[in-house]
Symmetry: C2
Subunit: 156 residues, 2 copies
């Protein structure tokens, strides 16, 4: 599965080397959509990642400058993962993957009103999601989530 690491600066290959492992993108999804931050929370995702694989992917994402690994401010024995600015810049990639699947998968879990909201103004929505995740929120989970903000503003 190894491609010619570091030799190709084709921008598609470069991106795939940095984050293109499917497990890596699922971790980034967990942070952006669901506000997960810990090893245990990533482990609990539906796709059932093996602990050894998850450990390796988290280390790679940190090495590649996509994740920050810091002690939990509330419990210094615990580590939390957050997206760096380069990690936050992956949000448009996630939105396009979700948009594609929502159009192709008849049984998609993607809420139609969410897909429609992103489609309506992709630039503004990308900015809102990025600011929300940067501040510790997520798209779907919590009182400070993007969907809660949209709902409060009457946009959804």
């Amino acid at each position: 599965m190894k491609r010619t690491k570091g030799k190709s600066h084709c921008p598609i290959n470069f991106g795939l080397e940095a984050f293109g492992d499917p497990w890596s993108l699922l971790v980034i999804r967990d942070i952006v959509y669901f506000g997960k931050r810990t090893f245990t929370e990533f482990s609990d995702s539906d796709e059932g990642v093996a602990p050894s694989v998850l450990t390796a992917r988290l280390a790679e994402l940190e090495t590649n400058g996509i994740l920050n690994r810091t002690p939990d401010p509330g419990d210094a024995r615990r580590v939390v993962y957050t997206l760096t600015e380069n990690g936050l810049a992956l949000i448009p990639v996630l939105l396009e993957i979700a948009n594609w699947s929502a159009g192709v998968d008849a049984e998609t879990d993607a809420p139609p009103e969410w897909i429609e909201a992103v489609h309506r103004d992709k630039t503004a929505m990308t900015e809102l999601i990025t600011a929300t995740v940067r501040a510790g929120g997520s798209i779907f989970v919590g009182s400070d989530s993007v969907v809660a903000a949209l709902s409060a503003s009457g946009q959804n």
Copy 2:
């Protein structure tokens, strides 16, 4: 590397199951950016895919409704691969991956004027690329390419 196939309709996981193998995205890149259409042409890409891996990925992409496999009209012994409509719908995913890498990789091969042209009007550029690839052209290669059309119209 196998996730719980077919069980999750999370739109990120669904997309990654359909096209998220890095080799699969490199094949789609070869078609969209460089107009490649045959096994030999895909084999010749810089990343050095093994023939057995390429064979498996092409079959999966066909099964997943992303690639069409048809006899070459000019030489019926030869097979050509083209994108289905669902495959063409992946163009925004590729553009976002390339855009991310161009912003992160100081040595990127992405031409800055191309990244800028996509950024300027992503919707119009996506439509132009999709129409060009659907008609058998590509972004960078050939007299009917997207960059040739932009150049002729004085936009680049």
